[in-house]
């Protein structure tokens, strides 16, 4: 997909800074509503962290984000993304190899999963469907929260009250027992929560990791249970299913949204470095590029994270001290890295040799709760985990065009890699290969011989994610998804509704409610807020 590198016009209804999936979604909605829209992206490709790139000749990597689940189905319909090439293939399995040569594989087929779990605990096998049912029911309640803007509890505006009713609709429909579990999910640690249901570590460990992805917390940290729900919230084609791959890698989603936006008349310009938002008497009037060009716009929308938006594009001088303090408290502290491998044959797990359906899903190196806690403990004091949690997928099994025939790409999400290593974040480049080695060494324990099959290796530390993708401190969610940074507090109290204190400047990315993951929800809700404002 080619984009121009110069805007056609000097003036637009709206300029979106940053062509990540949220920026593109916001742009597409605005263009669809008849606005003239320009998207400015710094990199040569759009998608932000949701990109597929040919890093080594012939091998296309899903460089950062690697699976899709929470992308809102109504956005797919609204923006006609399927027509624009979006194709999501559900993950077949969730495979967890163990160091003792055994393994657990959870399948799409419930009966098969139960048989697998029963090998470790008959009791857990019995409880598993009950657990899944309870979670799926609760996941439904969460939808009203993520599909609506976050109400502000401090506001006395009746409209806020109506909004609160709308957001809480799911919870109001829930009965006391369901609310009890929901409350536990919000506050407990993933490990404690799972302890209430299951006894087998082999099952609990790979389940618990969903709670820590992208956060600087361990599976025993309170508050991590909540994300377990997200696994039951995944919707692909409106059907409640778990996670999926996009054809062509995660970049496939961004490409589809970009095409959709263009079809509505939005213009996308790449390699455009925005230096700042132009502000005249407290109102955003356009953006200035690093090459000196200026583009006028009635509305400017930032798809960057809160720190980059406020302290980079806007500048402290336009903010009051209250907001500056809040931004100072807003936590990023990235905790994960990415290792992408090109290999000349499929990995062969000692616990389940050969090709097989277990490879067509995600593979979790999370053999026990203690293993995960040890990995976290190292990170707390400024080291990357020697034996990290790895979530691995092999996108070429779904889309063979991403590598030369017979060869494969492997995407490994790795945690923990703290942004603030004790040598100092800027020293990450010296630690990068050691970090990559730790990952490969870990894999080698489960896939003997994988080292010899590696043709290319791309290691992205949190530092690299910041430098290359503009993710502050390498946080993949534009700021931690912890309770104090969610809902009406994301990114700051009073400024959680996509609006900013600078008139006509809006925010639309993961650093706003509901944030995190390839959801598109922030982009869509921001666009709706902007359109409502302009209609009024």
């Amino acid at each position: 997909m080619k984009f121009s590198n110069k805007p056609d016009h000097p003036r637009y209804d709206a300029v979106v800074v940053g062509g990540g999936h949220n920026g593109l979604t916001c742009a597409a909605y605005l263009a669809k509503a008849g606005k003239s829209v320009l998207v400015l992206e710094k990199r040569p490709v759009v998608g932000g962290s949701a990109v597929s790139e040919e890093v080594f000749p012939g091998f296309t990597y899903t460089v950062c984000s690697y699976v899709v689940s929470l992308f809102r189905p109504h956005i797919v319909r609204d923006l006609e993304l399927v027509r624009h090439g979006l194709e999501i293939i559900p993950l077949e399995a969730s495979f967890s190899p163990l160091p003792n040569g055994d393994s657990l594989c959870r399948w799409g087929d419930a009966h098969r999963t139960r048989r697998e779990i029963a090998r470790f605990s008959a009791k857990d096998a019995e409880v598993y469907p009950e657990f899944s049912l309870a979670m799926s029911q609760l996941a439904r309640f969460t939808k009203s929260i993520i599909d609506n803007p976050a109400p502000n509890p401090a506001s006395l505006n009746p409209a806020e009250f109506v909004q609160a009713l709308r957001s809480s609709q799911g919870l109001r429909e829930a009965n006391a027992d369901q609310r009890f579990i929901y409350m536990k999910l919000l506050t407990m640690s993933a490990a404690d929560f799972l302890d209430q249901w299951f006894e087998s570590d082999v099952l609990k460990a790979p389940m618990s990791v969903s709670g820590i992805i992208g956060t600087f917390l361990g599976v025993r940290s309170p508050g991590t249970a909540y994300v377990l729900l997200h696994h039951y919230m995944g919707e692909i084609d409106g059907a409640m299913r778990a996670w999926g791959f996009a054809k062509g890698g995660t970049g496939g989603i961004s490409t589809a949204i970009a095409r959709s936006a263009q079809s509505y008349g939005a213009e996308i310009v790449t390699e455009a470095h925005v230096s700042n938002v132009i502000i005249k008497s407290g109102k955003a009037t356009g953006v200035a590029l690093e090459n000196g060009d200026e583009i006028r716009a009635d509305t400017v929308i930032s798809g960057l994270d809160p720190r980059r938006t406020y302290l980079g594009l806007v500048g402290k001088e336009h903010l009051d001290s209250e907001l500056t303090t809040q931004l100072g408290h807003y936590k990023f502290r990235g905790s994960s890295g990415k290792v992408n491998l090109a290999v000349d044959r499929l990995p062969e797990f000692s616990s389940r040799p050969g090709d097989g359906p277990h490879l067509y899903g995600d593979v979790a190196i999370a053999p026990s709760i203690q293993y995960l806690e040890k990995a976290y403990d190292q990170a707390k004091y400024g080291d990357f985990s020697e034996r990290p949690y790895i979530n691995m997928v092999i996108p070429t099994l779904v889309d063979p065009t991403m590598a030369p025939p017979g060869k494969h790409v492997i995407s490994c999400f790795v945690q923990y890699a703290p942004y603030d290593i004790k040598e100092g974040a800027s020293n990450w480049p010296q630690r990068r290969e050691a970090f990559g080695d730790a990952v490969v060494d870990t894999l080698e324990e489960y896939i003997p011989g994988i080292k010899e099959t590696i043709l290319h290796r791309q290691v992205l530390t949190p530092w690299d994610l910041e430098q290359e993708f503009g993710l502050t401190e390498g946080n993949i969610f534009h700021g931690e998804l912890s309770l104090e940074q969610l809902l009406y507090l994301r990114p700051a109290a009073g400024w959680a509704k996509y609006k900013t204190p600078v008139r006509s400047l809006w925010m639309c990315a993961s650093g706003t409610h509901p944030g995190g993951g390839i959801m598109g929800a922030s982009g869509e809700l921001a666009a709706r807020a902007i359109l409502r404002k302009r209609a009024a």
Binding site: M183, H329, D377, Y381, L489
Partner: protein
């Protein structure tokens, strides 16, 4: 023929005593059954070495509720003087972290001027949110799981209470409460040892560390109840409660454990004791751990499967040990002047120290460098030891309930050694003065005091177990069994010596009986 009473209270700790007294004040005939020989529970003074007595396991009384003391007629015990707690840092740094405001702010500013200023900001915030939190801690909790069934006026009043903080403080309170206490303290302070010591209010006795989300809530609750203390400390409190109970005609049966709660037609009928004795009453209130009450004392058929599942998931894993030391001479901490008269100090040199100390228990080990809450009760009450001798009482974090290899004598002495070595680094020569030492691991606390899991708070004060304590079926001190109530720290508003749970429970003991009387 068995004896008959109106109310039987199980457990003679400070909460059980409070419930017994308050019920007796309403004219009820009350029996109080205690497993140990003496009353007082965790606040009981124990002679651990000939001539040396403790001031209880919980050696502080800064959380005792003034209103409860008033209703017990023990107002005279309350003194408005705040007990000073000192933080001990490396290389002789000493600063008060809690106590009379001016002295504390001044002491803190000696180490970092900005900390002094920020301490004023910190205290001001605590004072502003105090009304809301103390309302939460001193009233019947609202069951927000079934908020539709609560009286709308109640709900509205509480919501308005929060709103009246003003939008800034309200949002700030909602923002910080679920935060890790480390992040919260970092927003205010610079000095590492001050942050370390303050964080202990949030994590001592819990399965959490400064990086654990939700720990700020514990600090806020602690800071907002604390305001006064008991003259003469926990010993005076226990003595006064016992005296009051006797005055009010409460029948005390100590040295006798309840083995069964008797049930007839889904209502409580009485209790059976270890010695086979039966006592009858239509109301039984248990101050011991809810888990023990429901799972050990009730017949299995009294609980539904769900209730049983929920209560067995009530987290009660103890994480602190208690060490009593008999010391020859006074204890002097490096850097502290004689004027400071340090009788309560903390050793937690940095937040990372606390965090690392916690890491160990995740793997069933005790900390290599434990963090300590140290009290020297002999300073206030010299009667506890022979002349020129001292008693030192240390709460040691962290020590797991399930120690890898078990709590053998070797394990106890190894931990004792570590604690003594740690104190000696801050009080040179301390190790030379030790006459005797007695360490109680969480497992020992369970054995000696019937403390389930050895958990000092009767149950983990995680956010989920704070708002619904212990489980929905036992919300608001009730149980699924008619006439059986809970009045210990495992119910709202939770642990430490506050007497509040015992006081709140009395309303629930009275209420259903009044309703029944009306119907009749």
């Amino acid at each position: 023929m068995s004896e008959r009473f109106d109310v039987i209270v199980i457990g003679g700790g400070h909460n059980g005593l409070t419930t017994a007294c308050l019920m007796a004040m309403q004219g009820e005939r009350v029996a109080l059954v205690e497993k140990r020989d003496a009353l007082g529970g965790l606040a009981e003074s124990v002679e651990f070495e000939p001539g040396f007595k403790s001031a209880g396991v919980w050696h502080g009384t800064g959380n005792v509720s003034e209103s409860v003391m008033n209703s017990l007629g023990l107002k005279s015990l309350i003194q408005n003087e705040l007990p000073t707690v000192y933080a001990l840092g490396e290389s002789g740094h000493v600063a008060p972290i809690f106590g009379p405001f001016n002295r504390t702010a001044f002491g803190i500013s000696q180490h970092a001027p900005s900390d002094g200023r920020n301490y004023a900001r910190y205290r001001a915030f605590m004072n502003r949110i105090r009304p809301v939190l103390s309302r939460f801690l001193t009233r019947r909790p609202l069951n927000f799981l079934e908020v539709e069934r609560e009286a709308p006026v109640e709900v509205l009043t509480r919501a308005l209470g929060l709103r009246f903080l003003g939008s800034h403080d309200m949002v700030e309170l909602l923002r910080v409460a679920p935060m890790p206490v480390r992040d919260f303290l970092n927003e205010y302070f610079e000095s590492a040892f001050i942050k370390g010591a303050l964080s202990m209010d949030a994590v001592l006795g819990t399965f959490a560390a400064p990086r654990s989300p939700g720990t700020t809530m514990n600090l806020l609750m602690h800071e907002s109840i604390a305001g006064q203390s008991i003259k003469g400390g926990s010993i005076a409190l226990t003595e006064a409660l016992i005296r009051r109970a006797r005055e009010l005609g409460v029948q005390v049966k100590s040295g006798n454990a309840v083995t069964k709660i008797l049930i007839e037609n889904k209502s409580v009928k009485g209790v059976e004791l270890e010695n086979g004795e039966m006592i009858e009453a239509a109301a039984v209130s248990a101050s011991c751990n809810p888990k023990a009450v429901l799972l050990d004392l009730l017949p299995v058929e009294a609980l539904t499967h769900t209730t049983e599942h929920r209560i067995s998931n009530f987290r009660t894993c103890g994480t602190a040990a208690h060490l009593l030391l008999a010391i020859d001479g006074p204890v002097s901490f490096q850097g502290a002047s004689a004027d400071d008269n340090v009788c309560h100090a903390r050793i937690a040199p940095t937040l990372d120290h606390v965090e690392k100390a916690f890491d160990a228990i995740k793997y069933d080990r005790f900390s290599d460098e434990p963090v300590l809450d140290i009290a020297i009760p002999t300073i206030d009450d010299p009667r506890l030891a022979p002349a020129d001798k001292s008693v030192v009482s240390v709460l040691v974090a962290y020590a797991p309930y399930n120690l890898d290899g078990g709590w053998t004598d070797d394990a106890r002495s190894a931990l004792t050694r570590k604690v003594i070595d740690t104190i000696s680094r801050f009080a040179p020569g301390f190790d030379k003065k030790i006459i005797a030492a007695k360490l109680s691991s969480p497992a020992d606390l369970e054995n000696d005091y019937g403390l389930t899991g050895g958990h000092l708070h009767h149950g983990e004060p995680g956010l989920d177990q704070v708002v619904i304590r212990p489980i929905p079926e036992c919300f608001n001190h009730e149980t699924p069994v008619e006439g059986l109530t809970l009045c210990g720290s495992g119910t709202h508003p939770g642990g430490t010596v506050s007497c509040m749970a015992g006081a709140l429970a009395t309303r629930e003991i009275t209420r259903p009986r009044k309703i029944r009387a009306d119907v009749a």
